[in-house]
Amino acid sequence: MIGTQVRAAVFRHLIGKQLTPRVGLHRKPCWLHSAVAAMPFRTSSSPAPVLTAAPARGLVDDPISIKAGFMPPHHPVTLCMQMRSEDGDLWEAFGHYNTSADGTVNLARDHSVGGSYLGCEPMGLFWCLRPAPGEREDLRFRKKNVETPFVVDISLLEGHISPREKENAVLAVATTERWYMAPGVQRIDIRQNGVVGTLFLPPGPGRFPAVLDLWGMGGGLVEYRSSLLASRGFASFSVAYMEHKDLTVQLDINAADGYMKKAFNILKDHPQICGDRIGIIGLSYGVYLGLRMATNSDVNPSCLVCINGPAGSNVGLTQTFCKPKTSDSDQRLWPRDEAGYLSFKDMTSPNNYSPGTQVKIENLACPVMYILGEDDQNSPSTENSNLIADVLKRVGKSHLYTCLSYSGAGHLIEPPYTPHSRMSLWRSKPEKMLALWGGHTAPHAAAQEDSWKKTLKFLDQNLRA
């Protein structure tokens, strides 16, 4: 094989074409390699290597199969993923691979030997995405407009290089779109009775089971989890309860109860929703609001999914709830830990619940699934989860409670295959404040993937069966 290549190389030289370093590539001495990394290894008469990513248009929570072929065997290549967020930041990730004996790379089969991640990680390029060097730091990856896809370019590069050295080393590119909404899913702005939210309805006449979707103290209206749930057949209602321009009144915790009930009833009364098949999913402070609803005799959710949130509150937290993020840097409202990160660890610890704020856990009457990141640096989620488990055990309701505990996972356990941020910017005015979420990239990604699957199954069992 090498002999033929040598003859071929000489032949081309004889007829005046540029000599290509095919021989050097096969022997792979490192000095030649670094020179070669800057040159395409093919001639104008041989086809380019091929890179495929399937499905080319998938939902964000769909795994994707990435393969490359038509390369020399046992050859070093880099797979690099790049994407621009809506704010224009460049996120990237890469892995170093060696082609197999048949000149192919298959991310479901092969191991990355360097780069952003190691080992066999079919979706590693997605969940390892990080702001590229030189871009803004401490970013969090969030899609605001869920009606358009993320367009992601995956490049196959010559040699084991970093994305900075990409120029002149690109062998092939596969473009893929990652969607947050399936075709036919309807996005409906809801401004009704003072409730601010977005309703996502699956296609078809219904009736559909539904989910009330609550996020945390970051506020605003976060739609991407709801749009994905609707793409999986659940009507899903993302509700804003703080930091939204259309909220007519600053809510306090008592007003929040009435507000949430109204939101729940919007689902219950909807002609295309099964009024008796509504669940609640909450993250962070959304867990507290969800638990309050579930222990309220007027509201009867069919199930509850709680991600890293408390079962009680304290005065500081309650006040924080009704103050805009940017208004005050009062230590009581936006507490910082010793390292200076925003942390709700004290405020949401069961030891520090203000009297009367702990929800009546014993009144829970529906299945509850608690998704716990053991490395949550923002909230004492382990203590909160244990508290709920203990109370339910005491009243003989353990059968209602499931806890999925993920070591190495942080606070923000979100839909899978999205990048992990161990910390991110909370706000920049009146002064910059960072939040430490915790979690280490690989175990956090595994937690997101596993918990999402289990969440969908849990919703299926409790809202559809």
Binding site: R12, V151, P183, N193, G204
Partner: protein, 492 residues
């Protein structure tokens, strides 16, 4: 919300949104708008049919309050046109008769539909991949039957052909499941569940470039990435115009493909074309910076196939391979290119008609002349040639011509270059897979300046199988001859 509710009501006629569950407690008046709408509906004088539907809906809705509604899953929801589709229904009662239906509204605003009759199993599931359709537009275990068996809904205009013009947007298909075995009046029934799926001709990242260079009119599709890529000259047939969808699909498979326009529909008789036009088009692709110059092939259907085989055999360009679908090697010399496929004036008496007034043109090109001045000398071809033909081609005697091509190539020991895919009960228009089958469609016969319907032939099931099988083999053929690396043998 009121407006959207109205829109939904319009979409699903006879769907009366009567709040059947006890939703009135403490709702704080949030459903005022909905309630007033439903009460106004209830007050509308109802015909017996409306009553029947209302009661049926109430039964079904009551059912859904207790049992969950059926779940229809279609995957993938966004795919390329040549990718397979999985359709599954769950949560039905066991042994329930249901109908799966696929509906599409074309760019010309016609409705196309297909449907199959199924029975759920003991777990209340129907899987199109595993179960058998007992009736409808297709029967048997047909994974893709909901797509290839589509035909215009009853009451549509006749002689229609479904072709996507804008390849930058997807074709949208609505797949629904209905209670019972339904064969008509779908629009007046309420589906149990419904899902939409998008099917695209163009993969993400494929660039579309309009070409108007050196007099060449067409559209170039370039795969994403630095390349270089193999190239293809893509030519359709006697209908004329510019059809991009096959080129977009080929580019989605890694080929720079030029969809060539060589005459406008209806201009065939007057287009002043010489072969120079096609050669320039070929060179355009060859010289493109994203194209590997010695890996450019030609792809043609019908008249385009006749042009392709002539270029590959007798012109100085050197294609790396040649694909001819439903073509002939008829070539009256010293006449215009456009005269290849035209019904010869002297031969119009050979045109027959079937029972439905569709014109059968195939006999006009028969018998095949043994005179080399009347046909392309395929003995001179030097590249791999793939012929795709249907045995029921009523427009061109493709089988007879293929026999002649084969014989000519055999006579000079070049049969190793020839691959012949011949399909039974398959007609003339062998298109990318899962497209509906068109047995006879409207055609602008330029010579007579008349709109006629031409019989293309083929039986739907067999023709669809041929489309699926041939496309797979076409892609494999292209990959083998345009992608596999060939190390040149050294002569030292």
């Amino acid at each position: 919300m009121n407006r959207l509710l109205l829109a939904r009501l319009r979409k699903y006629p006879n769907l009366h949104f009567a709040p059947l569950s006890q939703n009135t407690s403490g709702s704080g008046g949030s459903v005022n708008s909905a309630t007033s709408l439903t009460s106004s509906l209830r007050e509308t004088p109802a015909s017996r049919f409306d009553d029947h539907c209302l009661n049926k809906f109430r039964r079904l809705s009551a059912m859904s309050q207790v049992t969950p509604p059926p779940i229809l899953t279609v995957a993938p929801t966004r795919a390329l046109l040549d990718e397979k589709l999985g359709v599954q229904v769950d949560n039905l009662p066991p042994g329930a008769p249901v109908t799966l239906r696929c509906l599409h509204q074309s760019e010309d605003k016609d409705y196309w539909e297909a449907y199959g009759h199924y029975i759920s199993d003991a777990t209340g599931a129907v899987s199109v991949a595993d179960d058998v359709s007992l009736g409808g537009t297709y029967r048997g275990k047909e994974v893709m039957g909901l797509l290839w068996s589509m035909r215009p809904v009853p009451g549509s205009r006749t002689g229609l052909r479904l072709r996507k013009r804008n390849v930058c947007t997807p074709m949208l298909f609505t797949i629904s499941v209905y209670d019972g075995h339904v064969s008509h009046d779908f629009s007046s029934r309420r589906p149990l569940a419904e899902v939409l799926t998008e099917r695209w001709y163009k993969a993400p990242g494929v660039r579309r470039v309009e070409v108007n260079d050196r007099g060449i009119r067409g559209t170039l599709f370039i795969p994403s990435g630095p390349g270089p890529f193999p190239g293809l000259l893509d030519m359709w047939g006697g209908g004329g115009g510019l059809l991009e969808y096959r080129s977009a699909l080929l580019a989605s498979h890694g080929y720079v493909s030029l969809a060539l326009e060589y005459f406008a529909p209806g201009e065939l008789a007057t287009a002043d074309l010489e072969f120079k036009y096609f050669e320039t088009a070929f060179d355009l692709i060859k010289q493109h910076p994203a194209v590997i110059a010695n890996k450019v092939g030609i792809f043609g259907l019908s008249l385009g196939a006749a042009v392709a085989i002539h270029m590959a055999s007798e012109r100085p360009i050197k294609p790396a391979c040649c694909i001819c679908i439903s073509g002939s090697h008829l070539f009256p010399r010293d006449q215009l290119v456009t005269s290849i496929h035209q019904p010869q004036l002297g031969n119009t008496r050979k045109i027959r008609m079937d029972g439905e007034q569709n014109l059968i043109w195939r006999d006009m090109s028969l018998p095949i002349s043994s005179d080399l001045s009347r046909k392309t000398d395929v003995r001179r071809i030097n590249c791999p040639l793939l012929l795709v033909i249907g045995q029921d081609d009523q427009n061109t005697p493709a089988v007879e011509y293929a026999d002649d091509i084969e014989q000519m190539m055999l006579s000079v020991g070049k049969e190793h270059l020839l691959t012949r895919l011949e399909y039974p009960d398959t007609g003339h228009l062998i298109e990318p897979p899962y497209s509906p089958h068109f047995r006879a469609t409207n055609f602008m016969w330029d010579r007579k300046k008349a709109k006629v319907t031409l019989l293309w032939g083929g039986q739907t099931k067999a023709h669809s199988d041929a489309q699926e099988d041939s496309w797979k083999k076409i892609l494999a053929f292209l990959q083998r001859h345009l992608y596999s690396p060939q190390v040149p043998t050294a002569r030292m």
